[in-house]
């Protein structure tokens, strides 16, 4: 039987990492639900099965809507997965879980109770559709449903918004099949006076609202403005009710509720919210106009198709679902507000002139003046302002989607170009017929080739920011679930890595962040206080370029690694003997053993013991390395080192005997011919060379690589000082030159070979090996054959 808890956990992580707009990733989540569904069936757990179904439908809807406004749905999926984790991984009872979505399935009633007069879209939702439908591609019959269900769950607890409400479908705008609301506005003769007053008052209120909304746009924190708009709606609602204008009352009520939530800080006044409130104000103005008209003709009836959709949008906004804010597109950051409005047709030139005059007199901002004078609606001004802001603050760079394969091909070709160009250069020099014009042209060619190649390399580089941001989501999620307070900070999120590396670093980072939160950080904020730390734990994610590598570090100020616990566990697993004494580094490295975990219990967060060894393998497959620093009680730092996967690098070609090797220039500090005085030898550390105030270990490539070289004494050769996990001096016979080289992988059979990071195709067409200093150090330390296959195996 497949390991369902494991599947659930993997999927939960994937859910957190998935971008709601990434259709393929969301669809993938959907497919991966299947084993869980099957398991629920086997367990005959109808409620869980129902949850799976809701989850699948929500995912389908997200895909269909391409993620627009679907953050709420995604968070529902996240909630469902939390439920799975608690129930499936931790064995809690379903009813213990306090989430609205659980009430849906346990109480059962809301499921089958679909709103009575629904549109066609909801007919099929009453009975949970057959499971075959669940996982087919055809999402259409059910795509309106899931959002509805969640609506019900949330709406249950909150206000009586659904009272007397008309049909509730989630996609109000496109719903042309429903009959428009028939608005009836009657004014009896005896009410005429009151109504006239009401109309005047309401118009004033609505105008004020406009202005207040405009100022809120600039300053969303302006609580007075919020209050003012709230009061406006409240008053209109009251009077409309008194005058028995039910539709107007209803609209005012919805709008007022929304404003109330903002007032109470249950909702933030974001752009999407302001749009729908502006619309409400406009609609109310319309209706007031109708009332005014009704004054003269006694009664006025009209069909308004936009009424109900607006109500629906108001309710959706109250649930936190707002569509993206509308803005006028502004193509140049230098456009002024007036220009934008005139260009978009919302404002007349003449009026603009007039407004300038007014503005000069009053000193008010142009936008306000325009609205006050009635030249343009507040909403339009807001939209224009948004557009202006977007074009200025966003370095909205135009981007083009490029097929990744083509990019790779292009980079390969660029590599060939570099080689060919090198060859030409070499030949020109060799032939000796280097005339000045030829040299000049070759120089020019060289320069262009270099630029091209840098450009090519940079195409594949993307910032690590999105990965870090996903970590932010993860941390928020985890800290909510565990009750620990955690603050996450980033350094270097703009650091760029090769695209393929960024894709693959996500998973290991997730594991490590989880570990940090689960094991590293103290169990409760109180524990931290008791330890003399701040209540809120700090986790910092760093990305830095250094020496041809990129370092990604996760640092926490938690408990640090527990030496004793790790040692004890290792003894238990017979990885070490009780009497062994291990260095800190060795203890830390123990946690990378498969199945190793010192967690007392397995939580849904981590502790299954599958984490760190997988992390290590993933990182090593990226030709990287992971290192741990930790101080008990103070915290830990996990450090990942990755090579910048550059296809073309600058390299120094050196000779050792008959062998040619390449050392990446980025790693080289300096090359020198040592003097005897600089050389020394220490029994435990081997040969040393004095450089820049330090004694640096000398590595004879002849011995490390087992090749024959010429220089017997370092003074006879050249020492190349390289920086890579500390400094080392590599002893070579001769430096042959510096050149651009194309890195090629050594092929599957040699990929694991220590000491080389790849092969370089030289101008003469032969292959040279690119040295990997870290690997050489390890080879030197081991002093044993590089691979077991040097020892022939006996076969009977």
């Amino acid at each position: 039987m497949t390991d369902i808890p494991h599947i659930v956990q993997e999927l939960s992580e994937a859910v957190v990492l998935t971008d709601v707009h990434d259709g393929m990733a969301v669809a993938d989540l959907h497919t991966r639900l299947e084993p869980i569904r099957d398991w629920c069936r086997e367990q005959e757990n109808k409620q869980l099965e129902e949850l799976v179904r809701i989850c699948a439908e929500t995912l389908e809807e997200i895909v269909v809507k391409e993620g627009q406004g679907m953050e709420h749905s995604m968070s529902l999926v996240g909630d469902i997965f939390s439920v799975f984790q608690w129930v499936i991984c931790e064995g809690r009872a379903l009813k213990e879980v306090d989430l609205p979505v659980v009430k849906l399935v346990t109480e059962g009633s809301s499921l089958t109770e679909s709103p009575a007069e629904s549109g066609a879209a909801e007919d099929t939702q009453d009975v949970p559709s057959s499971d075959e439908d669940l996982f087919t591609q055809d999402a259409s019959p059910t795509d309106a449903a899931p959002a509805d269900r969640s609506e019900h769950a949330d709406v249950e607890a909150s206000s009586d918004m659904s009272d007397g409400s008309p049909e509730t479908t989630s996609d109000a705008d496109s719903d042309t099949s429903r009959p428009p609301r028939h608005l009836v506005l009657t004014v009896g003769a005896e009410d005429a006076e009151i109504v006239r007053e009401f109309v005047a008052e309401a118009r004033e209120h609505l105008e004020t609202s406009d202005q207040q909304l405009l100022s809120l746009e600039q300053d969303p924190g302006n609580s007075e403005a919020v209050d003012a708009v709230f009061r406006a709606f409240h008053t209109i609602k009251g009077t409309a009710g008194f005058l028995q204008m039910a539709d107007l009352q209803e609209l005012a009520h919805e709008a007022e509720t929304l404003l109330d939530m903002v007032r109470k800080e249950e909702l933030a006044f974001g752009d999407g919210l302001s749009d729908v409130i502006f619309e409400s104000v406009d609609k109310m103005k319309e209706m007031i106009d109708l009332v005014d008209h009704a004054l003269s003709v006694e009664s006025h009836e009209v069909d308004d198709a936009g009424f109900d959709p607006l109500l629906e949008r108001l309710r959706a906004a109250a649930r936190g679902e707002t569509p993206p804010p509308r803005a006028i597109h502004v193509d140049s950051p230098d456009k002024k507000l007036g220009e934008i409005l005139v260009e978009s047709g919302a404002l007349d030139d003449v009026d603009l002139e007039g407004a300038f005059v007014e503005k000069a007199a009053s000193g008010e901002p142009l936008g306000k003046t325009l609205v006050d004078q009635g030249f343009v609606g507040a909403k339009k001004v807001v939209e224009a302002l948004r557009g202006q802001k977007a074009s200025r603050t966003n370095t909205v760079r135009e981007s083009v989607k490029v097929d990744a394969d083509r990019l790779d091909q292009m980079i390969d070709s660029l590599g060939e170009l570099v080689i060919a160009q090198s060859m030409v250069k070499q030949m020109a020099q060799v032939d000796g017929a280097s005339s000045t014009p030829l040299e000049r042209h070759l120089g020019h060619l060289d320069k262009i080739t270099r630029e091209l190649q840098e450009l090519g390399m940079s195409l594949r580089m993307v910032p690590i920011r999105p990965i870090f941001q996903k970590m932010a989501r993860l941390v928020r999620d985890l800290s909510k679930k565990s009750g620990k307070k955690v603050e996450l900070t980033f350094i270097g999120e703009e650091t760029e890595l090769d695209k393929s590396v960024v894709d693959r670093i996500g998973d290991p980072l997730v594991h490590m962040v989880r570990n940090a939160l689960d094991h590293g950080i103290e169990a409760t904020p109180q524990d931290r206080l008791a330890a003399g730390k701040t209540e809120t734990a700090h986790v910092e994610l760093r990305a830095i370029h250094k020496g041809g590598n990129i370092f990604i570090e996760i640092q926490d100020d938690g408990r640090g690694l527990n030496r004793d616990a790790i040692f004890a566990k290792a003894v238990e697993r017979e990885l070490v003997q009780p009497g062994d004494s291990l260095s800190d580094k060795e203890i830390h490295n123990l946690i990378f053993h498969p199945g190793f975990s010192t967690a007392q219990q397995v939580t849904d967060l981590s502790g299954r013991g599958v984490g760190m060894d997988v992390v290590k393998r993933n990182i090593e497959s990226l030709r990287g390395q992971i290192d741990i620093q930790s101080e008990p009680g103070r915290g830990s730092t996990f450090s990942i080192r990755l090579p910048l996967t550059l296809a073309i690098i600058d390299g120094m070609v050196v000779r050792v005997g008959q062998h040619r090797f390449v050392i990446p220039t980025l790693s080289i500090v300096q090359s020198l011919r040592p003097e005897s005085a600089d050389l020394s030898s220490v029994l435990s550390r081997g040969e040393l060379v004095y450089f820049n105030g330090d004694h640096i270990p000398l590595m004879r490539l002849t011995s490390v690589l087992g090749v024959t070289g010429e220089a017997r004494k370092p003074e006879e050769g050249i020492v190349v000082i390289v920086e890579d996990e500390g400094r080392h001096g590599l002893l070579v016979d001769e430096i042959l030159g510096q050149q651009q080289i194309v890195i090629k992988t050594l092929g599957a059979m040699l990929k694991a070979q220590s000491g080389y990071s790849g092969g370089a195709i030289m101008p003469d067409g032969l292959v040279s090996l690119i040295l990997d200093v870290g690997g050489l150090v390890r080879l030197a330390e081991k002093g044993t054959p590089a691979s077991l296959s040097e020892i022939p195996q006996e076969v009977s």
Partner: protein, 170 residues
């Protein structure tokens, strides 16, 4: 034409009958499925890889790609001889794990492409446990003698020297 027999299958169920490129290592003749063969190149300068397993002669540049060259004699634990003018490299396409790889095999001399029919194939002799002989697909009788059919994927997959005494098995 004789009666159609049961097709002889290798351990992964693939039909063994087909065309093979045969070559010599010492006095023994071997064959690899032609479908695996990408090309044959004459001996060229090979860059040695220090500290790599003995049976890896080194790497070469094959049209911009770096290819590992296996010295089959060493891989099979045979006596090592000097290269001659007939020594060449057979470049094969195969898999190692999930990766597609191209590997060069250094052989004494390339013979011919041979059509091998099921009737002529004998399954590989067993020693005890599959691991030692998984790199053999079987043996094929042909007018010149017996050809030992090799499983390229297994040879490339293993990190070990594969010892077997060809003559004693026949």
């Amino acid at each position: 034409m004789t009666q159609p027999q049961e097709p002889i299958l290798d351990s992964t169920g693939n039909r063994l009958a087909g065309r093979y490129l045969t070559f010599l290592l010492g006095r023994e003749e071997y064959g690899v499925p032609i479908l695996n063969v990408r090309e044959i190149i004459g001996l060229m300068d090979i860059t040695p890889v220090p500290k790599a397993p003995e049976f890896i002669r080194g790497v070469i540049n094959l049209r911009g790609k770096v290819i590992t060259v296996l010295e089959l004699r060493r891989k099979f634990g045979m006596e090592v001889v000097d290269d001659t003018s007939e020594t060449c490299i057979i470049v094969v396409d195969t898999h190692r794990g999930e990766d597609e790889v191209q590997v060069g095999m250094l052989v004494d001399k390339v013979s011919e492409v041979l059509d091998v029919v099921s009737e002529d194939i004998d399954p590989p002799p067993r020693f005890g446990g599959d691991s030692e002989t998984s790199f053999l697909l079987g043996t094929a009788k042909s007018r010149g003698g017996v050809k030992i059919l090799l499983n390229v994927e297994e040879i490339v997959k293993s990190d070990e020297v594969v010892l077997f005494d060809a003559r004693s098995n026949l």
